[in-house]
């Protein structure tokens, strides 16, 4: 547990970067600090490992006042990941990862063995061990940065915009893996970002700071989306927050209706006149796309790939309301396709049905 107790940071030039901050980052959880540029996120984070000394107030690490520890001792217990990874260019990847164990005097062979395991853990192939940072892409370097912070198995990790310097696709992969890793490791993590979407995706709790270093709201992601405390937080969280909040509500078991299908490669059925859209599945019953029966099929005998409309997303039974609604809205037939965990078709729902479910949830929550 990390606890900020009336922590203030005033820089020598008079800038108050953090103003009497009260905040607790619970053990084993991810606490995200988010807010506009210059609001004091980095300053707050770096005061935890005393890269910056607070002007006043106390930061507690469990029951210890951090100010009472030698800085290098404190820092060796805290993993630290920064934006551009900050890898040491003159050391191989494996030695970069083993930095802190080396500092702690761990046997070199032992430390390298652990480093290799970590390399795999963060999703990099073992032959990267002997490479140098310059031989890795930005995203790969960032993974090494995470591995390096984990090497001494510190209970606490501080991460300052670790994924912001990579492109969106890689960023998503890194975020997903980070969550998976955290599920296994259960570290106490303080994570800084200026991206509200990242905050909501990763945080167990999110602290929104406003410029001047004031804590505006500390809440779980759902609560932040559904009940922003004031206009600033509401504005920062963004316009479609209601829709995004659905991402945190499970749909429960959707009552689906059966959906007529045709298998890929079968003969094109002749016009059933009720509906023009027919769902196409493969041999494993996995939905592939929609067939427009009203279209002109000259030259085609069977249902083939190039006849399909693919755009629609799929909802998983037991998934979120957001996914269910999105499946309906993105389907050309207006019917959202629901599949089981294995990806096989269960049936379909309509947007109206999902909305009724949402309304029902709302009334449940507000007695």
């Amino acid at each position: 547990m990390i606890r900020f107790d009336a922590v203030t940071k005033r820089y020598p030039d008079g800038t108050v970067a953090v103003d009497s901050l009260e905040l607790t980052a619970a053990s084993g959880q991810i606490t995200v600090l988010v807010g506009p540029s210059g609001c004091g996120k980095t300053t707050s984070l770096r005061m935890i490992n005393r890269m910056i000394e607070p002007t006043s107030g106390t930061i507690w690490l469990d029951d210890t006042d951090t100010a009472s520890m030698a800085t290098h001792e404190l820092r060796r217990q805290i993993g630290y990941v920064i934006q551009h990874a900050g890898l040491f260019p003159h050391r191989t990847i494996v030695d970069n990862i083993a930095t802190v164990p080396f500092l702690l005097g761990t046997d070199k062979k032992e430390a390298r063995k652990t480093a290799l395991e970590l390399l795999e853990r963060v999703g990099l192939p073992p032959h990267f061990a002997k490479r140098y940072p310059a031989q890795l892409s930005g995203g790969q370097q960032q993974r090494v940065g995470v591995a390096r912070a984990l090497a001494a198995d510190p209970p606490v990790m501080l991460m300052d915009e670790p994924f912001s310097a990579v492109d969106p696709v890689v960023r998503e992969q890194l975020q997903d893996e980070f969550l998976r890793l955290q599920q296994e490791l259960g570290k106490t993590i303080v994570f800084v970002t200026h991206d509200i979407d990242e905050a909501i995706k990763l945080g167990d709790q999110v602290a929104v700071l406003r410029v001047g270093g004031h804590l505006a709201q500390l809440a779980s992601p759902v609560e932040l989306l559904s009940r922003p405390i004031d206009a600033f937080v509401a504005g920062f969280v963004g316009r479609d927050r209601g829709y995004r909040a659905l991402g945190f509500t499970t749909a429960g078991t959707l009552s689906t209706r059966g959906e007529p299908t045709v298998t890929l490669g079968a003969a094109i059925p002749k016009g059933t006149d009720t509906d023009t859209w027919l769902l196409v599945v493969d041999a494993q019953q996995a939905p592939q796309g929609w067939l427009d029966l009203g279209a002109d099929f000259t030259g085609h005998e069977t249902v083939s790939d190039e006849l399909l409309y693919r755009g629609g997303t799929l909802a998983t039974q037991g998934g979120t309301l957001r996914a269910a609604l999105d499946a309906c809205l993105s389907s050309p037939s207006g019917r959202g396709v629901v599949v089981d965990d294995g990806g096989a078709l269960i049936g379909s729902v309509t947007a109206r049905e999902v909305l009724e479910l949402i309304e029902a949830r709302e009334t449940e929550r507000q007695p």
Partner: protein, 253 residues
């Protein structure tokens, strides 16, 4: 003339000492001695100082001051110091000439080593320093384990340029009655023995080239490949396309 120079250089009697003349080997050793002493002193002064100034970012004016020394004419300072110092060392020894020579050589070698060391440490990416401190390295650990190895290429180029200037200027020491390879140049000039004079020039040039080659080789082995980027072709720096492929691989691993 070239043929005469070759004859002078290949005449084995010029290489060893005779009753009247000091041979090439002896003068070469003398030359190396001037250079070696000065280089050692300059390293002892400039390396720690440069590391310290670069790391603490204090006393930066010292570097500027040392660089201003470069505007001094070496020969002038050499003569001035000799005129001041040598009268205090009457007698048979060279000390009266050796001390001013070494002072001039050290003055010459300090600025390039100092300013390159300083620049090397100073230019270490702030993110790397930050990460090093953030992981719990102490100040000296950051300096010796991170900043120093990363600055090595620049430090080496400072040391190499200092060494070359030392070899060149140690030649001028023969302008005073001291040994060294410059002896052949100044004696050749005085005796109008031009093959000897030019031969001396060739020897100095060869020594400079050889020394630089040795230092370059040492540098090659001492500086991390991660910094020189001298990677074997098999694991070349990934271009972005290859990197993207690895990225996806990793994600699904």
């Amino acid at each position: 003339m070239i043929a005469d120079v070759v004859t002078w250089l290949t005449d084995s009697s010029h290489w060893t000492d005779t009753k009247f003349d000091t041979g090439i080997w002896t003068q070469l050793l003398a030359h190396l001695k001037f250079v070696g002493i000065a280089l050692a002193i300059a390293l002892l002064i400039a390396l720690p100082l440069g590391l310290f100034i670069g790391h603490t970012r204090r006393w930066g004016w010292l570097v500027a001051g040392a660089n201003a020394l470069r505007a001094l004419p070496t020969v002038g300072v050499l003569v001035l110091l000799t005129v001041i110092i040598s009268p205090h060392f009457q007698g048979r020894t060279d000390t009266g000439f050796l001390i001013p020579t070494e002072i001039v050589l050290v003055l010459l070698a300090v600025p390039p080593i100092l300013s390159n060391t300083y620049a090397g440490v100073q230019n270490v990416e702030p993110g790397i320093r930050d990460a090093a401190f953030g992981m719990g390295m102490t100040g000296p650990q950051v300096l010796l384990r991170v900043e120093f190895p990363i600055s090595l290429p620049l430090i080496f180029s400072g040391v190499r340029s200092a060494t070359l200037q030392l070899i060149a200027t140690a030649t001028v020491a023969s302008y005073l009655p001291l040994g060294g390879l410059g002896r052949f140049i100044y004696d050749g000039l005085a005796q109008q023995d031009y093959p000897q004079m030019i031969g001396g020039g060739v020897l100095v040039a060869a020594l400079a080239l050889l020394t630089d080659l040795v230092l370059a080789t040492i540098q090659r082995y001492v500086v991390s490949r991660g910094i020189t980027r001298r990677f074997s072709s098999k694991q070349a720096v990934p271009d972005s396309r290859i990197a993207a492929v690895h990225e996806t691989d990793g994600a699904h691993a």
